[in-house]
Structures are given as C-alpha cells and as structure tokens.
Amino acid sequence: MIDARAICLTAGTFRLTSVSLHVAPGEYFVLMGRTGSGKSLLVRCLCGLIDPTAGSVAIDGVDVTGLEPRERRVGYMPQDCGLFPHLDVRRNVTFSLRARGMGRRAATAAAAPVVEMLDIGRLLDRRVTSLSGGERQKVALARALAGRPKVLLLDEPVSALDEPTRRDVCAELLRVQRELRLATIHVCHSLAEARSVADRVGVMEAGTIHQTGTIADLTAEAATEAVERLVHPVRVNTPPAPPGDAR
C-alpha cells in the first residue's frame, strides 16, 4: 500500500501543498487533474526522484521518505514509456533484475512469468524502436513489473495512444493489476479512462488533492469547482441561459 502524509515540495515556481493520499493493498487508484496540476510531480516524489520539503511517504508499511529510488521497490512507468533505445526488448525487461546483480540467464528466467503474463515473448529480440505504441506500453509495463515492485506508479501510461489501443491497454493494465494485487496509482486526464480502471479516484488541482472517492461519489457530489469541471465538463463549460429563456 501507499501512504503519503502532508507532502509539501517546491519545484521551480510550482508547489505541492500538504498532499495526503492513501492507496490500500490491491487498490487501483486513479489520480486525475488538468495539465500542470502537480500529478506527475507527486508521482515522482513517491518514486523518490524528488525529495519533499515536508511530509512522509510509506510504502508497504515502511517509511521510505529520504530513501533512494532503488530502495523503494516501486514499479514506475513514465508517460512516454521511457524504454531504453540502445537496448533490445529483452534487456529492457530484465534491466531492473540485472541492476540488482542477477546474471543474464537468471534475469531472463526471473522475468519469464511477467513476459508470459503480458504475452510479449515474441518481441524479446526486437529493438524497441521497431515496436508499435501498444507493444511499447506492454514492454514498459513488463520492465516495471519484472523487479517485483511493491507498488505500481503509472504516469499517463496511455495518453499517447489512439482510442482503441488505449482501451486495450487499460484493460490489460487492470487485468495485470488484479492478478498481481498491486497497489497502483494511475495518472490521467480523462474521466472515461479513469472509469475503465479505477477503484477510487483523486482529483488534483493547483498542487493539492481536492477530493477522493469512487467515481460515483464524485459525480454525485463534487467537492469543488475543479472536481466539477472534471466530472461534468459539459455542465461547467456551458454558458448559463439568459434570463427569460424558458427552454
């Protein structure tokens, strides 16, 4: 599970202000918000790539605040997949295992269950530059999972894909998450995308979390205008009817 308490941090002129977040074991949590609301910054903080100025982060019950990223055992998948272009698919997938001292054969064997689960065995000898968008997502996910992380952090994992591929990849993400029962945070902009995977969602705006709950909760009662804008974009963006207009 992931437990972030009162996280504050500054990156340039942007600030995260007292962000608290709890994701239960096996829960699929979607963090929504407009571009520039601080979602990716929060995920990078949970990964250990940016240190908070205040607050704490616990993963699987252990306080990891101040620990190096490699000591946190998080599976992180960035927006553009971040595949290493100088390595083939096999070396990308086994990267985390090799980094922890495994030999090449042992790493390939250890990654085999993940490779099988995501059905990417036929891609292992290909260069990553030759993969399609959907294949890249699967390989990036396999790489994030191969090191047996305790939590999964997905930063806009499907934003660069077309709609049908996006639906497929979301379904695959949910299937894998359910199978491994990993606490997962998935960052996105779209309510439809959140609806397809989320157990719960959180809405972030201007560096703070405005509301968390199920999509039904948020739709029924939006706590702030930022939440309303995300869950009912049409209602918010439609100009009010002029007085006397009876329609």
Binding site: L49, P69, R70, Y76, P78, H86, A99
Partner: protein
C-alpha cells in the same frame, strides 16, 4: 419530339478525382523558378568547395614532385620513421588523456548547473578560437615563470622532458581536448535525463545509471569527438614549434618533418609526408562519420 424543340443538355459528369483525392493545384512559375534557383545556388557552392579540395589532392598527386618511390622510401628513412613513431606515440597518449577528461567534463557541463557554469563553458572553448600559435607562446611564458619552472623541474626529475614528448603531449592535449569536451557535452545533452532517473527507480545506483544508460547512449558522439581531437593532435604544428621546438630525432613529429623538408628543399619528401598525413586525416574522417551515424559495423 419535334425538330424545333431544344433538348436539354445532358448532365455533365463531375470531373473525376484522382485516386489520391483532389488534384494538387498547378505549381506557379514563380515558385518553380525559386525552387530551382535555390537548388542551383546551394549545389553550386557545394560543387565549388568540394572541387577546390579535390583540386588540391589531384594537384598533389599529379605534381612532378610526387614520386611513389619517395613515398615508399619514407618508410625506410630513419628520421621520418622516428617522426611517425613520435607522432603516433604522442597522439595516442593524447587520445587516452582526452578520452579520460572529456567524458566527466562533458557530463558535468551537460547535467549540472553550478556557479560559474557559463564562464567555465566559455573558458573550455577558448583553445578552439585562440590562434594555436598564441597558445604555444602562452605555454612558453607560463613555463618561464617561477611556478612554471617549478613544474618543469618536477617533470624533468621524473624524466618528462618538456622539450620532447611530454611537451608535445601537453600542447596536443590543450589544443585538442576542447573539441572532445564539446562533442561529449552535446552527446550527453542529447540523452534524455529522465531515462537516467528511470534507471534509478529500476534499481540502479547513480554510477550504474550513468554507466548503463547515459554513457552507452552518448557513446557515438563521444567517440567521434575523441577521433576529431586525435586528428587535431596529429596535425598540430605551430604551438609545437614555439613551445617544444623542432629537433630531429627528439621533438620531430610529422608536421615538423614537412616543414623541415620544405625549408631544406626536400619538396618530394615533404609531399610524400603530406600524403601520409592526408591518408591519416581521411581515415579519421571516415571514423568520425561512422561513429557519429552510430553504425554497428565498427564493432565498438
């Protein structure tokens, strides 16, 4: 139907569209002329420059001073062989030093912002824009000063004669390393630093992330920079004449051989040595292009 009746004209079929969609509008004459004029001017300049270089090479080969037997004889001449050996040894040591220095400096300039970053960045480029002879003079002045004399004495005490190989390496290194640093920085700039961060989340230490992600991805640019620096070191002449001098058998490298032969009327030998240097430069260029394009047939 009577003959006086007008028959309505049959409906005209719509003009058929080409399979790819609507046909492109005809290109205007002005656009066509401008397109060809631009191509003619740029290709003209290209042909002029390449023609000049080829003319120089052809003139060398067609010259009455160029004799194959003299070229072959170079490899039997003790002092030319000694010059080749000294050139190879000093430029080889310089290449190793350049490789050792350019990677960390290029990485630091690319990744870290520290006080004085812009100043350091500019100072590194100085040997590129300064006249090489001026650097030779500056080195001479530096080694004539008390701290320089102290350094020179220490070098002499361990057998590094600044008027021989050690001085040559110092000159070559100072004048060639900026090229490698610049290439190395550009190569690291081109590597997305988020990939290094990602490697950290995948279990790497910072050193391992550098070694397994940044360095291999920047390898082509770094190697190309090193080859460029080596080519510059091999061809260095002016600063060596000022700082080290030119003594046959002691501080004579190939460019010095050319100068000495020309000044003593041995134009055939000078031309033959020139051909050797042109061959070396050509090999360096092929290596640079191969490395910069990242081809795998180099096996590096």
């Amino acid at each position: 139907m009577t003959s006086g009746e007008k028959t309505p004209p049959p409906p005209q079929p719509a003009p058929a569209e080409p399979p790819g969609g609507r046909a492109a509008p005809p290109r205007s004459l002005g656009r066509t002329i401008s397109r060809y004029a631009l191509a003619a001017v740029t290709l003209g300049f290209l042909a002029l420059f390449v023609g000049a270089i080829v003319a120089i090479l052809v003139a060398d080969l067609a010259s009455r001073f160029f004799r194959v037997d003299v070229l072959a004889g170079l490899f039997g001449s003790p002092h030319v062989l000694a010059a080749m050996k000294l050139s190879g040894m000093t430029s080889g040591i310089t290449l190793v030093l350049v490789a050792v220095f350019c990677v960390p400096i290029g990485y630091a300039l690319s990744r870290y912002r520290f006080p004085g970053h812009a100043v350091v960045n500019t100072i590194i480029d100085l040997p590129i824009v300064m006249p090489p002879l001026a650097i030779g003079v500056s080195l001479l002045v530096l080694f004539a000063s008390p701290p320089g004399r102290w350094i020179g004495d220490r070098m002499n005490s361990i057998g590094w004669d600044r008027n021989a190989a050690a001085g040559i390496v110092l000159c070559q290194f100072l004048l060639s390393v900026p090229f490698a640093i610049r290439a190395s920085k550009s190569a690291f700039d081109a590597v997305d630093r988020r990939l290094e961060e990602l490697a950290l989340t995948l279990g790497c230490t910072r050193t391992r992330a550098f070694r397994t992600v940044a360095l291999p991805m920047a390898r082509g640019g770094i190697l190309a920079g090193c080859v460029m620096a080596w080519a510059r070191a091999v061809g260095l002449y002016g600063p060596l004449m000022v700082f080290v001098g030119c003594v046959r058998g002691k501080s004579e490298v190939l460019p010095n051989t050319i100068y000495l032969e020309v000044s003593t009327g041995g134009i055939e030998v000078a031309l033959a040595a020139t051909m050797v240097m042109i061959a070396l430069a050509g090999a360096a260029l092929v290596a640079i292009h191969g490395l910069a394009s990242g081809r795998r047939w180099w096996g590096l």
